[in-house]
Each structure stands twice: as C-alpha cells, then as structure tokens.
C-alpha cells in the first residue's frame, strides 16, 4: 500500500508536467491572431511533429469525414480531441504541412494572418534544427492546424512554407 502510494507520488510531477504541456498548447491555441480590425481572424488549434502527411502543402477540412480521414493516417500522432472540438460549421481547418522531414527538431506554427477582401493571407513560422544540432533520427511529418472562419474566402495564401506561396482556391 505504502509502495503504491509512493509510486503515485513519484508519478505526480510527470503527470503535472504533461498536463502543463497540454495547457501550454491550449493557451497558445486559444490566442487568436488579430487582424487590423482587432477581431479574431484565425487561430492555431494544434501542431504536431507527426501528422502523417508526407508532402508539403495544404489540406482543407470542411467536414468531419475529411477530418477523420486525416486522423487515421499511419504515423499520425496529433491532439485528436482538440481538432474534433472545432465546430466545422463556424470554422474550417487548414492543415499546413511541411511534409516528411528526416529528423526531429522541425516545427511549423502560425505567425500572422491578414485579410485582403476575400483573400486570407497566412504567414507561417518554420523552425528547423540549426546545422550541427544533435537531433533524433526518426522521420517526422510536422504540421500546424489552423482554424479559419468558414465560408468567407475565395482564396487562402500561405507564405513561409515554401519559396512560393501555397495557394488554396475555394
């Protein structure tokens, strides 16, 4: 009994930390990127180093079926619940993927967003391990998932992922 109690105690800091991590993500995700008009424009829902999407680019999700397809990819390891909680009637999900990367140490996140009429421009921040950094040698597939207001756009342009903007015509 005492041993079990000790085990619980020993496990606690980790549990706390993990919860802390979730909080961090949660806090980051709830902080919307503001447009000029100060109304929340888009928000980052989650990001992962293992999204299972092998090519760099955009995947646009308007239905729960499409979301399910993306969540059932092999090697996918995302915060599934946060994604399922998004009301797809209000917001659509944009998966911005870096494609397969050879090692750990890569991530992509939303830096800024701006509206130009019916065109939404997103700017992504990419982190890659600096040359000479020691990294894990498992293949990763980093992505960020951004919730955008549904049905407002004719085009979404994403900069920062490739040399040219990634363009999604809706």
């Amino acid at each position: 009994m005492i041993a079990a109690y000790r085990k619980v105690l020993a496990g606690l800091p980790l549990v706390f930390l993990l919860v802390g991590c979730v909080w961090l993500v949660g806090c980051a995700s709830s902080e919307p990127v503001e447009s000029e008009s100060s109304a929340p424009l888009v928000r980052q829902v989650t990001q992962s180093a293992h999204c299972g999407l092998t090519g760099p680019g955009l995947a646009y999700v308007q239905t729960s079926e499409r979301l399910q397809q993306l969540l059932e990819l092999p090697t996918q390891n995302m915060a599934v619940q946060q994604l399922r909680q998004v009301d797809l009637q209000q917001e659509h999900l944009l998966f911005v993927t870096l494609g397969e990367k050879p090692t750990g140490g890569y991530n992509v996140s939303l830096a800024s967003a701006e509206r130009a009429g019916k065109i939404l421009r997103l700017s992504m921040a990419i982190r890659a391990p600096a040359p000479g950094t020691m990294v894990t040698q498992a293949i990763t597939s980093p992505c960020a998932v951004v919730a955008v207001p549904a049905n407002e756009w004719s085009e979404i342009r994403v900069s920062g992922v490739r040399d040219k903007d990634l363009v999604l015509k809706l």
């Binding site: 085990k7 105690l9 020993a10 496990g11 606690l12 800091p13 980790l14 549990v15 706390f16 930390l17 993990l18 802390g20 991590c21 979730v22 961090l24 993500v25 980051a28 989650t46 990001q47 992962s48 180093a49 293992h50 239905t63 729960s64 079926e65 499409r66 399910q68 397809q69 059932e72 092999p74 090697t75 390891n77 995302m78 599934v80 619940q81 399922r84 909680q85 998004v86 009301d87 797809l88 009637q89 209000q90 050879p102 090692t103 750990g104 140490g105 890569y106 991530n107 996140s109 982190r127 391990p129 040359p131 950094t133 020691m134 990294v135 894990t136 040698q137 498992a138 293949i139 980093p142």
Partner: protein, 889 residues
C-alpha cells in the same frame, strides 16, 4: 537545498491539486460507489446478428483508406455479408462532399457444399441501379456466373453436383458504371443465435485451489481427517495459505467438466466460515521469448516483421537469457513515465539513469541536468516519445502484454540528452558519454551505448570521449542518419562507433537512409512508403510509445521509421552476444563483422556503401558469440505458426540446419500433442539431411470456440548430441460471435417529433465492432459552445444505429445495417435527464428488416423511408433550435 524544498512544495501542490480534483468528482450521497464514468449521459452495446460480416473495402472504409483489399476475404460456411462495389469513383449527385471510391471487384473465399447456393441481393445507391455479376470460381476458372441485369431481384449461384465440395472464390463485380450495395448470404443464415460466452482470464490447475484461512483460525485442524476429506489440504504455502486438492469425487474425466467442477468446489470452499478467500491455482503461461508476445503477431498494431528479418528468433534459441546481465545505455529523449513507474513494458528492465539536458533544450519543468530521465513530451505539439520507442526495441520485457525487445532481459540505463522537439547539444552528449564511461578508478556504467541521434559535425572532444569509452570496453552503436546522403553524419561516423543504416521489410536500403563508406552494418528501420515484405502494411518498426488519449498521455505502441529505429536492433543483438561472451568489445565485434560472421545469413557479404558489411543476422551473430559451444542445430521458418478459421487453416514450415559448418543431422521424432493440430507431413525417424519440411493443419472442431490455444511442434534430432526444437503454434476457432462485424456504425439520437416528414439528428457517435459487438456512449451536454457531436442535452430521443457503406450520409436504408432501440421497427423513446445516466442499453443490428406479422403487430410500414441522415456539421448551439438536418421518412 532550496531545490529540494521547491520540489517538496511542488509535489505537495500537485497532490493538493489532485485531491481537490478528486473531491470535485466525488458524490455526496454517501456509501454507494459511483460508476467510474459519472459524466456519461447514455451508454450501451449493440449486438450483431449471427453470421454477420462486412465487405472489408466498402465505400466508408475506402474513404478512410483508399486501397481496396488485395486478396479474397475469408468467409465462414454460413454468413450474411453486406458489401459495396463501384467501377468508378465520384461524388453523389446532390450530396456535395460525399464521395464514392472505385472498388470494381470484391472476392471472397468460402467452403461450399455440392448443391449449396449463395444469394446476391443488389441495392441501388442514390445514383440509381447498375448491374452486378456474381461468379463462383475454382482454380480452373468460372464454375457459374449470373448477372442482376439492372434488376432489383435476388440472384444466386449454386455449386453443381459435378463439382466437389471445397474452397471456391466468390466474386461480386460492378458490371455497370454506378456504385452499388449488395448483400451476399447463404440460405440458412439467421436460423440460430449463438449464446454469449466470456473470455477466460487465465487457465488454472484442475482440482486445485489456494485457500487463505481467516486469521485466528486454528491451523491444526487442517491436518484432521475431516478437513482432509472436505478441503484436501496439500501444502502450506505460507502461514495460513494452503494449496488444496479437491476430493476425488469432484474430479471428472472430461476437461471442461473438470474445470467446471473445480470452480464448483471452489464456490463451496468460499462458504466455509474459516476461509477468508479462495482462488483457483492459476497457471503461469511459459513465456520465453518475444515470439510469445501479443505484438509479435498483432494484426492491428503491426507485426514485428523487423525481428524476423533480423533472424532474431534463432538468436533467442542460442541466447535464451535474452541479454540478461548486460547493461545498455540509451542516450535519447528519456523514457515515458517516472522513475519506478516507466512504460509498463519497460519498467522491469530499467535501472537508474540521468538527465543531461541543459537549460537551453530542457522542457521537463526542472531546467538543466537532474536525476530524472523522464521524457515529458514536447511542450509544443504532440510527441512520439522517441527514446521510449528505441528502448522498447532493445529491452521491452516478455510479460504477456505489448511486445518485447530483442534483448528482453537486459538492463537499460536511460540517459536523457535530447530535449524539446528531440533536439540537444553536443556538450550534453559529451557530458553523458564521460559519465557513462565511469569514474577513472571504477567500472563503466554500461557495456553498450545506443545513440539514435545524429546531425553533429566532427568534434574531436566527442571522438576522444568515445575512444576513451571504447578502450574501457564500451560498444557504441549509432544511427547513420536519414538524409539519404553519403555525407558522414556524427556520432555514427566517429571511429569506434558502429554506424547503422536502415533497411525496409525486404532488406533493401530505406529511401531515407544515409549510406557511404563509413556505414558498418544495416538493420531494419522501416520505410512507410514501402511494403517490402508484402504483408499489406507499410513497413514501420513497432515499439513502445505514448500518446494523448482522451486528454491524458497514456502508454501505447506505435510504428516509426528511421535509422533511429535500426540502431537499437544492432545494440540489442550485441547485448545477446555479450551475454554469451562478456569479453566482446568493439575490436572483437568489428573483426567478426568484417569477416562476415555477423551478417548475411549463409553468405559472406562484401562491404557496400549502402549496407556496410550487410544486414545484421542475429542468429549468425549469436552463433559467432557462442563459438565453440554451439554445434549444428535445426531452425524453423516461419519461427511461429498461426492458424485460425478466419485465416490460414494449414501451414508449411521449413527446417534448416544452422551451424558454423552445417552438416547432416538425424531426425529422431516429430510430434504434435494438441488434438487440434494435425501433422500432415514431416520427416520420419532416421531421416538425415540439412533441409526438411513439415506441414500442419488446424482441426477446428477439436478447439473450444473463441479461445486461442497454443501448442508446439516438437522435433527431436541428433547432431553432436540429442537436441530438440520447439515451434510455437497458435490455433483459434474464431466463433461467429467474435467475428461478427457489420461495419463501422454511426449511433444517432434523433428527436422523436418529426419536423414535417423529417427527423432531426441531435447527437452522433461512432462505434467499431470488437469481439462481435459495438460499444457506444454519449456525454451530457456541458453547455460549452460548440457542442460536440457526442454530447446530448436532456430530452426524449429515439436511439438508432447503422452503417453508411456507400458513404452517402444516410444510415438504415436497404442494403445497410440498422439497429433501432429496443427492436428494429418498434422504436421506443429514451429519456435523458440531467445527472441521471442511462447505461446498459442493448439493441441488435442487422441487414434484415422486420416484417409485419401476427407476432409483431407493432411494426408499422415505412413506405418512403430512406434512412436517418448523419450530422455532417455540428449543430448550431447558440441558444437556437438545432438545424433541421433530419432523417427523411
């Protein structure tokens, strides 16, 4: 000191938080223990009708995984199956976003008797009718074929009396352009419902029990004649704990009867006033190697093909101690869990480690080095617990759960050198390398160091630390890197480090793997873009990990790819070798490698830039390590045989002599003891040679339905001495009940009051058949916006469930499975109240629909019913009524 106080306060704060949280969950109404899930609004199970199967590649499953099934799907003799075929792909007209996929032919393998018929009932999708052909095929071609000719009528094929009873292929083909649903069935399906059964948790010894006497009970009478007669004490295992043997009259000859009579006897013992508890004397299953672990042959999580490719089962024969006594350091991201409470598959083999991650890269809440090498996961985004995966390949224990590592009894020293996002600094690695080399007057802390990391430039200080460690007897193994490049990557390319490149399931260099003259050896690292071993899955390396499930991080198993996954295979094989010969260091191992003693099976490989000295062969390596003590012995391929009534019924095993200079061996005997396994062909006593073949067949009628049994084929033979090879065989008579599957089910709560002629779907959840049943639950609406699909506000509802095999957004129309609570055709309302969960709801799903008869007067006709509509988008919960996305009647 302040750190300790901080830590103590911190732990207290966490504990207080936890207690508060538990308090919050508690219920004030006293003694009654609350169910664990107090926040359930409605839960229950859906049973599946006898013989029900589902086409593995229907439109709904194809939408999730676009590859149609490659081979024929095995069906029982009596079945009812719903399926989907379409010659084309497209979008349903009028239903944007609802696509159907191409799957022009479905093939099934069935055993059919002379004169037996199979019926095909076609159903149109919303695209309208399209013809189907049904063909019965044997090896020489089509036996019989029929077409539905665009008509909605049932067609059938029968086995002519000129053809023998046997296994035939049934083929359903889309002969027109539009998608179609169909139901395929044998004539007598549905006549009998199998009774429920339970999985036994553990086997136990017949006629024995372990009895704990009440404290204070007089022990002496245990030896009295009366107690002897009633309880049969055999042996006092501990003070007050007795092994009892049932009196003779309780024993029975037949096995199932004796099990039952033992349980009956145990129940009578429980009633005795002097007895505190009685348990059956459970038998421990003999589990010797990772072959016995569920993950080794798991169809869902992924088979550990990488162990077969590495020839590990033979190594486990030669090195049965599983690397016991050898310590491996895994310098990585740390391990999932906490000291003393690591991932349960690793915990038994983990020794105390260290965290070297400096502040810059640390994210474990205690910035900088400390004594806790726990992997906290990533602060940003989700993590795959890289170090846990690597450690599992090396040293996951054989414990009947999950998988096992190659050196499953070795000791693993977790050394954390990689922090956030799997990145770290060379300075931290240097500190770790110096630490593991041990104090100058003492021993190294590990004999083998695994480095599944890379990306560093050449650094003399690291080379010096490695040279120092190697001189002290440490063997270093490192991942070659994943840049698909020949540029040397460090630490792999350092002198005195084994640089490991990665291969796929076919033993071919993985598409991402580095190569070059600096590669020493290759091992399985997987390749998600390939299916090199043609097992129908992409080639990923399966091992222990953790994932975020329902808001908490839980231990799990996942497949990854990379040279990170290849290196631990080599480290673990070296551990098996060092267990056999502790004198092996870098120089000895390198000599063996270069002289072809560790790689390439019966061949000697030349050095290549891709695989170095070749693909590591664990069997050959173990043999080399045990040189002088191992003579010729037999090995089996496959090393494990798995037979089941819904898989392969027969299997062939080839036996080969393995040894440093293989010569003929003499067979003594080949035997099979289980009544459910028949030896079809085998070498006989006195046969000699180096290659033999055995074939076996499952006799399902001799197996208890639903229970997986294990036995061995025992081969006794003489090489230098009398030897014995045991090949594990797993046999299962899958019961229809377990195998029943009507496809992925949507469970809906719909408003009982139709709006016009439509029902409104309010809440929706998804269930997948497990052991022949679907489990579902809905959560109470927590008032938070947006309301999740599976949250239900208080009210009255109709509960329905069904498949969407054609992916048209409707369930319960013809050709698809449907369940209605409590009985299809006789819906009753279910009331959901705040704080009053409704649990244990049962209903049955079926492809058939109720008929109106004298026995079922309540069933009303539904002339224009086309199904219940699935929620495609979340309902608006801004205080207004849910939108009418209802079900048409």
């Amino acid at each position: 000191m302040p750190v300790n106080i901080q830590a103590a306060l911190y732990r207290f704060a966490v504990l207080a938080g936890l207690i508060t949280a538990l308090w919050g969950c508690g219920n004030s109404n006293g003694n009654e223990p609350e169910p664990a899930f107090v926040d359930i609004a409605l839960s229950g199970a859906i049973d599946i009708e006898t013989g029900t199967r589902v086409d593995a590649d229907n439109a709904a499953s194809l939408a999730l995984n676009p590859r149609p099934s490659p081979g024929p799907q095995l069906l029982p003799q009596e079945f009812i199956l719903a399926g989907y075929v379409s010659a084309n792909s497209g979008t349903y007209s009028g239903l944007s976003d609802l696509d159907y996929s191409t799957d022009s032919v479905d093939a099934f393998s069935i055993t059919i008797r002379q004169g037996q018929s199979v019926y095909l009932q076609p159903f149109s999708t919303s695209e309208g009718p399209s013809p189907l052909t049904l063909s019965l095929i044997n090896k020489s071609g089509v036996v019989e074929t029929v077409s539905t000719h665009n008509q909605p009528d049932q067609v059938r094929v029968s086995l002519p009396s000129t053809e023998p009873t046997g296994t035939y292929t049934l083929q359903v083909e889309a002969a027109g352009s539009d998608p179609m649903l169909y139901i395929l069935s044998t004539s007598v399906t549905g006549s009998a419902r199998a009774t429920a059964f339970e999985w036994p948790d553990h086997d136990f010894v017949d006629s024995q029990a372990i009895v704990v006497l009440k404290s204070g009970a007089n022990q002496a009478p245990m030896r009295s004649a009366r107690s002897q007669a009633a309880m049969g004490p055999q042996k006092e295992l501990a003070p007050g704990v007795w092994l009892m043997k049932a009196p003779l009259q309780a024993a029975r000859s037949r096995q199932t009867q004796s099990k039952e009579s033992t349980l009956q006897w145990i129940r009578t013992l429980e009633k005795r006033p002097d007895v505190a508890s009685v348990t059956p004397n459970y038998t421990m299953r003999a589990m010797q190697t990772p072959l016995n672990e569920p993950l080794y042959n798991s169809p869902s999580v992924g088979q550990q093909w990488h162990y077969e490719l590495l020839n590990a089962p033979i190594a486990w024969q030669i090195a049965p101690d599983g690397g016991s006594g050898v310590t491996l350091a895994v310098m990585d991201t740390g391990l999932f869990g906490a000291p003393g409470n690591w991932h349960s598959d690793l915990n038994a083999n983990i020794i105390e480690g260290w965290d070297f991650v400096s502040e810059e890269f640390d994210n474990d809440g205690m910035p900088g080095p400390d004594s806790n090498p726990s992997d906290p996961g990533n602060a940003v985004g989700s993590s795959v617990y890289h170090g846990t995966h690597v450690a599992g390949t090396i040293a996951a224990a054989v414990n009947g759960a999950g998988g096992a590592g190659i050196a499953y009894k070795s000791s693993l020293l977790p050394v954390r050198v990689l922090g956030e996002g799997g990145t770290g600094s060379s300075a931290d690695l240097l500190a770790a390398l110096r630490w593991v080399a041990g104090p100058s007057g003492g021993e190294p802390l590990a004999e083998i160091v695994n480095l599944s990391l890379g990306g560093l430039p050449f650094l003399q200080s690291l080379q010096d630390a490695i040279t120092y460690g190697a001189d002290r007897g440490i063997v270093f193994v490192a991942a070659a890197g994943n840049s698909a490049s020949a540029v040397a990557s460090y630490p792999a390319a350092f002198d005195k480090v084994f640089a490991v490149s990665a291969v796929d399931g076919a033993g071919v260099l993985a598409s991402y793997s580095n190569y070059g003259s600096w590669i020493d050896v290759a091992a399985p690292g997987g390749d998600a873009s390939r299916d090199g071993n043609a097992d129908g899955r992409s080639d990923l390396v399966s091992s222990s990990s953790a994932a975020l499930v329902n808001g908490t991080v839980q231990e799990t198993y996942i497949g990854l790819q990379g040279t990170s996954m290849a290196a631990p295979h080599v480290s673990a094989v070296f551990a098996l070798m060092k267990n056999l010969n502790s004198a092996l260091g870098y120089e000895q191992l390198n000599d063996m490698l270069m002289t072809g003693k560790l790689t390439c099976g019966s061949e000697i490989c030349l050095k290549s830039t891709e695989l170095g000295w070749g693909l590591l062969d664990a069997g050959k390596s173990a043999l080399a390590a045990a040189a002088g003590t191992v003579s010729d012995f037999l090995t089996a391929s496959p090393s494990i045989v798995s037979l089941s009534t819904e898989g392969e019924l027969s299997a062939g095993v080839s036996l080969n002599v393995y040894g440093s200079a293989p010569s003929d061996i003499i067979i003594g005997s080949v035997s099979v003891v289980a009544p459910w396994l028949r030896l079809d062909s085998a070498p006989v006593s006195g046969d000699s040679g180096t290659d033999f073949a055995i074939s076996v067949t499952l006799l399902p009628e001799a197996l208890e339905a639903g229970i997986s049994e294990r036995t061995t084929i025992v081969i006794e033979y003489r090489s230098d001495e009398l030897r014995r090879l045991e090949i594990p065989v797993i046999g299962q008579r899958v019961t229809d009940q377990q195998a029943r599957d009507a496809g992925r089910h949507f469970v809906l709560l719909v408003d009982p009051e139709p709006v016009g002629d439509r029902y409104t779907t309010v809440a929706q959840t998804i269930a997948v058949a497990e052991n022949g049943q679907y489990q579902f639950s809905f959560l109470p609406d927590d008032g938070e916006v947006p309301r999740m699909l599976n949250e239900v506000p208080p009210g009255d509802y109709i509960l329905v469930a069904g498949t969407d095999l054609d992916n048209d957004g409707l369930i319960c129309h013809a050709g698809e499975a449907c369940a209605e609570y409590p009985v299809a055709g006789l819906r009753e309302e279910i009331t959901i109240r705040q704080g009053d969960p409704v649990t244990g709801v049962r209903m049955t799903t079926s492809y058939s629909r109720p008929s109106i008869s004298a026995a079922t007067p309540g069933v009303l006709p539904r002339p224009a019913f086309i199904g219940y509509r699935l929620i495609q988008q979340l309902p608006d919960t801004g205080g207004t009524a849910p939108k009418t996305i209802g079900a048409e009647r």
